[in-house]
């Protein structure tokens, strides 16, 4: 082994170590707060949860905080409502955005470019500025205080349509031309050829739609009145007491709220990372 090669290997070793160190630091930054929440939610009464440096291992581990959350608020009903809203949002967004995206990318019709521009412009309007108008529309439709009213305004997101459009536009044209020659209709080309090729982006849209609906707070708060219809984010807010906060309950509540997102992401991550690169590299 020559000296130069050894030096190079050593230099590579250092840079590898530095890289891992950096990755670990970022991991600590992103996961740390969540671990603190998780450990707080498991700590029994009398334990100092504000100690510095924080102790992540509970001394008297207990699940009582989770039971207490379920006692204070009907957390499972809230979760079920959230699940309904999120599932509906995923379905409408995947179906709607795929249809609209395919039309914008592949079908030729008058005003196609204008339609794309309109979609981009729509994304520039802050949701907050039209929220009251949306609410008044819903009231006219007699849909306030219903879960349908919560789903409706976000059921097809402009961002998702653009994502799908770009994914479809990146597919090679020749494949569809071949199908066209074989006599496939637009509908058949969409279902048989195009859709199976963009599974990754569909997964991205699904995760975004799920997260968007699951995490949303202000809109469901404004639309819903009855506690029996509240979604999880709105309902969990009850854990912030008017007069005193119990950090353990808040922590347990947020762990309950985050779990489905983690499960969903873990289930879809294979597609997810494929999807992020899909529109960019292929073509």
């Amino acid at each position: 082994m020559t000296g130069a090669a050894g030096r190079r290997r050593r230099a590579a070793g250092w840079s590898l170590a530095a890289r891992y160190l950096l990755l670990l630091a970022v991991l600590a930054l992103t996961v740390g707060p969540f671990l603190w929440q998780l450990s707080t939610s498991l700590k029994g009464p009398g334990e100092d949860i504000y100690r510095f440096p924080p102790s992540l291992l509970p001394h008297h581990p207990t699940l009582a905080n989770y039971a207490e959350v379920a006692r204070v608020i009907p957390v499972w009903d809230f979760a079920l409502n959230s699940l309904k809203v999120a599932a509906a949002n995923v379905l409408t967004n995947c179906a709607g955005a795929a249809l609209a995206g395919y039309a914008l990318a592949r079908l030729r019709f008058r005003g196609r470019r204008v339609a794309v521009v309109v979609f981009i412009m729509a994304m520039l309007v802050p949701v907050e500025s039209i929220m009251i108008a949306q609410f008044m529309t819903l009231r006219q439709l007699q849909l306030h205080n219903t879960l349908l009213g919560v789903v409706l305004p976000g059921c097809i997101g402009a961002m998702n349509v653009l994502l799908m459009r770009n994914a479809f536009a990146a597919l090679p044209y020749e494949v569809e031309e071949a199908a066209f020659v074989d006599g496939a209709s637009a509908w058949q080309r969409f279902v048989r050829i195009a859709l199976p090729s963009v599974k990754g982006t569909l997964a991205v849209v699904a995760v975004f739609a799920f997260m968007g609906a699951w995490d949303d707070f202000l809109w469901p708060l404004i639309v819903l009145n009855d506690q029996s219809k509240f979604t999880l984010t709105v309902g969990l807010n009850y854990l912030h007491g008017t007069f005193a906060d119990n950090q353990r309950l808040v922590a347990a509540g947020s762990v309950i709220a985050v779990l489905p997102l983690i499960v969903l992401f873990a289930g879809l991550q294979r597609y997810f990372f494929r999807g992020v690169g899909e529109g960019a590299v292929k073509g």
Binding site: Y50, H144, L221, N237, G241
Partner: protein, 431 residues
């Protein structure tokens, strides 16, 4: 895309408020109708509270059952809103005409509704009840520029100052003599920062409007048309805070602190003094036992001799279809007996006359919780709500930003307050 909607709560509030005002322009003025509360008490009353269901379901179920029994033919539908986003929820409901019949509001929330003609004038509709409430509580529901009272006074809250005796001792301060005036507070804070080598801050937060009030700054002119907290006294207070911030006597995150984060800092024992209420004692015991052993309790620091109080009220919607029943129910919930019962549930204080003379609020039994309660009840008799009702959320943000600029040294305290007053006055005029 709904997931962006939590990005700008302040902007939301502003937009929601403007939408409310726009939509209210055409609304008929139903506020001054004096005979509206007369008539038979019947029908379904919708009653909205602010984050009380999770803890006090039993109490309210009892009150409602009692009311329905006393007035056959009435039915009360109780809804409860979570802590966050309440102003937005109210303005959306106001804009769409879906306000509940009886609504739990604080005066600053009631003001835009009253101005838009959506709140019933209780003074005209139910003035006969005035004598039942503490004068200060009744008057705190009056709105500048409007004649009338727009909510029944409900529970009051105030609290002492908690301090960490251990940190006082370590800084060489006498743990038996906590500061009670602002001058002492500033001097002790500087000592604390110096002795602890800037590691322990005396206070967690930058001054808020209540601090200006307690310091003795005149916040508004007598008619409530212009803000005046940029007068020399206000500048003096801000200059002091600027020294504290530079010396490390304010927490490093003071500029963005809110009540919750300040409370956390105090429990982490990196801040030596923090305002709180009797309920916090329980929290300290449970969450920060190390702090609980060293907890000290003293009156809130002030120069005026008057503590600050927070007031809640029950507003009746001017568009209510069941006004007689709504007024009767709002009065029923806020009458002496029910307020007293509520105060025994949780550490709040009744706003009805004579209630604070009850032995429950005057007799000590040796426990800390009782001591805090008795002291708070005593201070309530002269307490004032320093926060002007016309000070909207948006104006509070304006003030907070100005204070932050001054503390960071980007502007002199005078300049910062001048610009904040100018901006708040502009908002007041256009609002």
């Amino acid at each position: 895309m709904r997931r962006h909607s939590r990005r700008t709560p302040a902007a939301t509030a502003a937009l929601a408020a403007s939408a409310l005002l726009l939509s209210a322009c055409g609304a008929p003025d139903g506020g001054g109708d004096s005979d509206s509360a007369a008539g038979k008490v019947e029908g379904q009353v919708t009653f909205q509270t602010w984050n009380l269901k999770a803890r006090f379901q039993k109490y309210f179920d009892g009150v409602i059952a009692e009311f329905e029994k006393k007035y056959p033919g009435t039915k009360v539908k109780w809804i409860d809103q979570p802590a966050e986003g309440y102003p937005q929820k109210l303005s959306a409901d106001a804009a769409a005409g879906t306000l509940p019949d009886v609504v739990n509001v604080s005066p600053d929330l009631a003001y835009p509704l009253a101005k838009a003609g959506l709140a019933l004038d209780i003074g005209a509709a139910a003035g006969k009840y005035r004598g039942e409430y503490l004068d200060g509580a009744w008057r705190s529901q009056q709105m500048p520029g409007l004649s009338g009272v727009y909510a029944f006074p409900w529970y009051l809250n105030t609290g002492p100052m908690f301090y960490n005796k251990d940190l006082f001792r370590k800084a060489g301060l006498d743990p038996a003599k906590p500061p009670t005036t602002y001058d002492r507070l500033f001097a002790d804070a500087l000592t604390m920062a110096r002795k602890s080598d800037r590691r322990i801050a005396m206070l967690a937060g930058a001054p808020s409007i209540e601090d200006f009030g307690r310091y003795g700054v005149r916040l508004m002119d007598a008619r409530g048309t212009e803000f005046t907290f940029n007068e020399p006294k206000g500048v003096e207070l801000l200059t002091h805070y600027r020294q504290l911030y530079a010396a490390g006597a304010l927490d490093a995150q003071a500029l963005t602190a809110v009540a919750e984060s300040a409370g956390r800092k105090f429990q982490q024992q990196s801040v030596a003094m923090n305002p709180g209420s009797a309920l916090d004692l329980e929290n300290f015991k449970r969450d920060a036992p190390g702090l609980y052993e060293n907890i000290g309790i003293t009156d809130a620091v002030n120069n005026t001799g008057k503590a600050n109080m927070y007031v809640q009220g029950l507003m009746v919607s001017a568009d209510s279809k069941v006004k007689p029943a709504a007024v009767a129910f709002a009065h029923f919930v806020t009458d002496r007996r029910h307020q007293m019962a509520f105060a025994k549930q949780v550490a709040v204080f009744p706003s009805t006359k004579g209630s604070l003379d009850d032995p429950y609020f005057t007799k000590e039994d040796g426990t800390d919780a009782t001591r805090v309660r008795v002291a708070a009840a005593k201070s309530l008799k002269t307490a004032v709500n320093y926060t002007p009702v016309v000070l909207s959320d948006q104006m509070k943000t304006v003030l907070r930003n100005a204070v932050a600029r001054a503390l960071q040294g980007k502007q002199s305290p005078q300049e910062a307050l001048d610009s904040a007053v100018a901006e708040c006055n502009r908002l007041l005029k256009t609002g």
